[in-house]
Symmetry: C2
Subunit: 227 residues, 2 copies
């Protein structure tokens, strides 16, 4: 398997983010590459969720990951260790991924036109990434139990723009004053169509439902049954 | 020839952030108002740290708090419940506080020219607030145990620009694979002068040292003994 590749993004000023995102989405849809944008605060468990998810997909699908970070290649190394093709996108300080960065990352994938799933892990930031369409088919916001149950109302843009909410680290519920019902109620008030999952990457709870959802949405979108 | 580039200016265009921050700092220094800017991811415990800190100060000092949030007044309500004058700055989507926002918040305080301590709780975001000087005397970055010990290297700007690091929720250390020595080492590699505190607002551990530090820095800065 190839090494992790690194993309240091250049400034893109010729096309708007919306234009690039739209053309990426058209291309990915044509290729039947289902693209998932993962968005959360630092430390909510985006990489850990991927580590728990990818083993369920990688033997049946062609899967790749683009890792967005301000600095370091640590997350990419964790995913690469699973035998998944990974590209590190280092933003060098920019607080979110933009479509041109994702395009540059996707272009260096070995088999870019034949991927079934492409996961994009955004920069850890619950605010800014929510404003940038990356051309993804599914936007997922993560909220970890230790962050607190007041976050949907305080950071509404991220929740409003997502199709799924994954509540992570639910094995920690006994140690926190975290009201699951409150979170669900507030999140659904912001985005009534939100699909909500409760998972623990540590115990494995909820992971199979989450994986089944990803497969089902992909199959529905591309109008063909799961393999 | 390149296309015309777009600059999305925020509301304040007459003076730069640096100019406003510098004039605020001069004014606060003259008034001997010690201003502390608290910066972290959502859910690291900024409001909770203030709830644990303010009772130690409020009987001996004139203290006020400016609460920065995208939406809601929940944090301001929590601080106000302690009997502390609090102003809510709702950014309406902007991912960080800027000096002109802080100026507007400070100006509505009842006793703005006679404050000893002014705490500014920034928007929950470990990236963008680090780039905006608010005129503060002390910048404090918080990192909670559940966020993970890899954060200083991944979000270096916040750690580099701070004078103090408060590691919060240390009562949770038994439940997480969080290496305190690693965090300290990485944070000090980024910012060698960082003062590091380990606290638990829940058990009270470390709070007195942290409060003593705030008082000492203030006293040293304004060249007079603590009252």
């Amino acid at each position: 398997m190839s090494k992790i590749r690194r993309v240091e993004v250049l400034k893109h000023i010729l096309e708007s983010n919306e234009q690039i995102a739209a053309s990426l989405k058209a291309l990915w849809s044509k290729n039947q590459t289902f693209v998932v944008n993962l968005l959360s605060s630092p430390g909510s468990g985006k990489t850990t969720l991927l580590e728990a998810t990818l083993p369920h997909l990688k033997d049946r699908y062609r899967v790749a990951v683009l890792e967005g970070d301000l600095e370091t290649e640590r997350d990419a190394e964790r995913i690469h260790a699973l035998g998944i093709e990974t590209v590190q996108i280092t933003t060098g300080g920019t607080c979110h991924l933009e479509a041109h960065m994702v395009k540059q990352g996707w272009e260096v994938l070995n088999d870019k036109d034949r991927m079934d799933f492409l996961f994009v892990e955004n920069v850890g930031n619950l605010v800014c990434p929510a404003s940038f369409d990356l051309g993804e088919h599914l936007r997922v916001v993560l909220l970890s139990v230790p962050e607190g149950d007041d976050k949907p109302a305080k950071y509404p843009v991220a929740f409003r723009s997502a199709q799924a909410l994954v509540i992570t680290k639910i094995d920690l519920l006994p140690y926190f004053d975290f009201d699951l019902d409150r979170v669900k109620e507030e999140a659904l008030a912001i985005q009534p169509n939100l699909q909500i999952f409760e998972v623990s990457a540590k115990t494995g709870e909820g992971i199979r439902d989450w994986v089944a959802y990803l497969e089902a949405v992909r199959a529905r979108l591309f109008d063909r049954p799961s393999p």
